[in-house]
């Protein structure tokens, strides 16, 4: 059976199964377990309504528990065992990892990524959002800057590999250097330390559109009166932007910033396709992939380090969500 046919069959079974489950479980609940008749139908209806939410939630909770909650525990547990998984070594994986040069490089680079990418993407996004705000062709411009969001990290890496190519007749960077009189082409991906920034720019290129869309909506939401008042008081456009608009959308800026930060901690594709982690460009996700299938103990230890870095953002998000619901 070809995979595609298998896929279609799965869609039918999956969708049919879901609908069937929800329909039948509700039917059984209402007609068999707590029927709205007999001695005290009111009590039965109330009981049925107490159970029903959990019927609706069960498949989702099962999948979430298995695919996202269990792995947090499972990964931590696995990271306490050795490579083969048969010997408990406590924090041995973490100890060897922290003394490994590769890990230290990855951690340092990841720190750079977290510092640079969210800041740059938010900055460019805000810039474009503000500049295109009153522009007649602003929507077209936004659409084009938003486009990289649809491109895979692998595709984007290829696009930029071409720009960075080590040949003045292929790569734009080297063509520009050639134009300004450089003699030899330069492989920018092999220039230690700075190559990280060339990789980061790819992610900035992708994420600027995301920042732009959200910040653009936030800018539109600013009450006109505040801006009018500032202009009447003689504020110049820069003052209006920095002193009136930016403070009012600070909350959104923080959300965009943290969302991109989380993404930065997960993306391994760019480093993997561009340099394979060579030339000192390793970051934690790609470092983890280099141990995946080879040393599960070490791989899970790296994953858990990523989890710990993400944790503060997670807690902050939950607090925000809870504050909103009140």
């Amino acid at each position: 059976m070809s995979p595609l046919v298998q896929g279609i069959v799965t869609v039918i079974i999956g969708v049919g199964g879901c609908v069937g489950y929800f329909f039948l479980s509700n039917l059984i609940l209402d007609k068999v377990i707590f029927p709205a008749r007999g001695d005290n139908p009111g009590v039965n209806i109330n009981r049925a309504n107490l159970v029903r939410p959990w019927l609706f939630l069960l498949p989702a909770m099962g999948a979430l528990g298995l695919y996202l909650v269990y792995p947090v525990v499972g990964s931590f547990w696995r990271s306490l065992y050795n490579r083969a998984g048969d010997e408990f070594i406590g924090f041995g994986n973490y100890a060897t990892m922290f003394s490994d040069d590769g890990f230290q490089t990855a951690l340092f680079n990841n720190f750079l990524w977290v510092l640079v990418v969210p800041a740059s993407a938010t900055f460019f996004g805000l810039l474009v959002a503000q500049l295109t705000d009153r522009l007649r062709w602003g929507n077209i411009a936004k659409s084009l800057i938003f486009m990289p969001m649809a491109i895979s990290f692998v595709g984007a890496s290829l696009i930029w590999k071409f720009v960075y190519a080590n040949n003045a007749d292929i790569g734009l960077i080297n063509a520009l250097r050639d134009f300004f009189g450089a003699q030899e082409p330069l492989d920018v991906l092999q220039v230690r330390f700075w190559n990280n920034f060339f990789l980061m720019f790819i992610l900035v290129w992708i994420q600027t559109g995301f920042a732009m869309v959200i910040l653009s909506a936030a800018l539109r939401g600013i009450p006109e009166e505040t801006i009018e008042a500032a202009i009447i008081d003689g504020a110049n456009p820069f003052q209006v932007f920095f002193k009136i608009k930016v403070p009012q959308i600070m909350g959104t800026i923080v959300v965009v910033w943290t969302t991109i930060t989380i993404l930065v901690l997960k993306v391994f594709d760019i480093v993997y396709t561009m340099t394979g982690g060579n030339f000192g460009t390793e970051i934690l996700p790609s470092y983890m992939m280099s141990y995946m299938f080879r040393d599960d103990g070490r791989a899970t230890a790296v994953a858990f380090v990523i989890m710990i870095i993400v944790l503060p953002v997670m807690i902050w998000n939950i607090r925000q969500a809870r504050a909103e619901m009140r």
Partner: protein, 374 residues
């Protein structure tokens, strides 16, 4: 707003120019790859894609057959045309490998040992040597090759590189992985939005927290789990994995949207005796279409573009490669220098997401806003 007190003209020029500049910077890399995907390998390495509308100077080497030698006084002479019947335009030529473009067309090149070589623009040449010519002499020349665009790269990549299989595999992974989580999430989102029960707030908080759990954590334990229950690395495994990983965002997006639906409609339906199941299927689900579409687009783009999950949960043999894996693990290695092929492959893989993106941008934007501003 900005035109108060005549500040408009100079500033609006600056704004227009900077936006144009930014758009160009953002667009150029993609355009470069697109243009290159239509050029052949030799043209790509001969001139930059930004020069592709112009003729390319390419170097060639021709052997002059020594058999046609004639004697002219003390000299041995070969005459003929280096294009041997074909057409072309010689720009420069030379008689030595060390300097293949030493002379302009029409000049006479003085070679070592008193030999000389003349090549005209149309390819006619005269080779003179004081000694008998035993070996076929070589002529090096450069011609202007007119720009050429073709679909050859796409043909090669699709039909002889198995990119077609990878394309179908990507499609196979994407469709169930997009549709199934929507249904599961919709029911859960309804419960979290419109049903009252103890622990609802806690569950919502958990969903929000799970939004940011790094996928990396899930890889090892779940692969072990799949191996244990006998699924192993397979399509079924990746569908389940994508479903699980997509659920937090789906539930979060849909719940945010459903909470905003007018309370009156739902309550009057309940007063009229509709059960929760009926309220959900007949009222909430149809009204939530925009949110469902938003999530579907997200999940589609994410599963289509994913490399990590596919690398871990699909078998590593070439029949099950999806396009991203195929490009990253196969083409970049085996075809590393063949830019035409790589560009073609990249465009095959990003064509569908781009179409989805440009046709359904409205829903995507709405989803982004619902997913993060709230």
């Amino acid at each position: 707003m900005d035109n108060i007190a005549g500040t408009k003209s100079s500033l609006s020029w600056a704004v227009n120019i900077s936006v144009i500049l930014l758009v160009v910077i953002w667009l150029i890399p993609t355009v470069g790859l697109l243009v290159s995907s239509f050029r052949d390998r030799d043209q790509i390495s001969a001139s930059g894609w930004w020069l592709s509308p112009f003729a390319v100077e390419q170097n060639f080497q021709a052997k002059i057959p020594a058999g046609e030698v004639k004697q002219d006084g003390d000299f041995f002479v070969i005459e003929g045309n280096i294009f041997s019947g074909g057409e072309g335009e010689v720009i420069r030529f030379g008689g030595a490998r060390s300097n293949p473009t030493a002379n302009a067309a029409g000049e006479t090149a003085e070679l070592t040992r008193d030999r000389s070589l003349t090549v005209q623009t149309n390819g006619d040449f005269v080779y003179r040597s004081p000694k008998e010519i035993k070996r076929d002499p070589s002529v090096y020349y450069s011609t202007a090759t007119p720009p050429e665009f073709s679909l050859d790269n796409y043909r090669t990549i699709l039909f002889s590189n198995n990119m077609d299989i990878a394309f179908i595999n990507t499609l196979t992974v994407t469709i169930p992985a997009t549709i199934i989580p929507i249904l599961i999430a919709a029911f859960a989102a309804y419960a979290l939005a419109w049903m009252d029960f103890a622990g609802r707030g806690l569950l919502i908080a958990i969903v929000v927290g799970l939004l940011v759990v790094p996928l990396q954590l899930a890889l090892v334990p779940l692969l072990q789990f799949h191996n244990k229950i006998g699924i192993g690395q397979s399509f079924l495994g990746i569908w389940m994995a994508h479903t699980g990983f997509g659920l937090p965002l789906a539930i979060y997006l849909l719940r945010n949207y459903m909470v905003g639906l007018p309370r009156d409609i739902i309550e009057s339906a309940k007063v009229d005796g509709a059960t929760d199941f009926q309220v959900f299927t007949k009222i909430v689900l149809p009204l939530s279409f925009p949110a469902l579409a938003s999530f579907a687009i997200f999940q589609f783009l994410w599963t289509w573009n994913d490399l990590l999950v596919a690398k871990v949960f699909l078998p590593s043999n070439s029949e099950s490669w999806v396009m991203t894996v195929k490009i990253a693990d196969d083409l970049l290695g085996s075809r590393g220098g063949d830019w035409g092929i790589l560009a073609g492959a990249a465009f095959i893989s990003i064509a569908v997401p781009l179409i989805v993106f440009f046709t359904m941008q409205r829903y995507l934007v709405r989803g982004l806003l619902a997913g993060s501003v709230k």
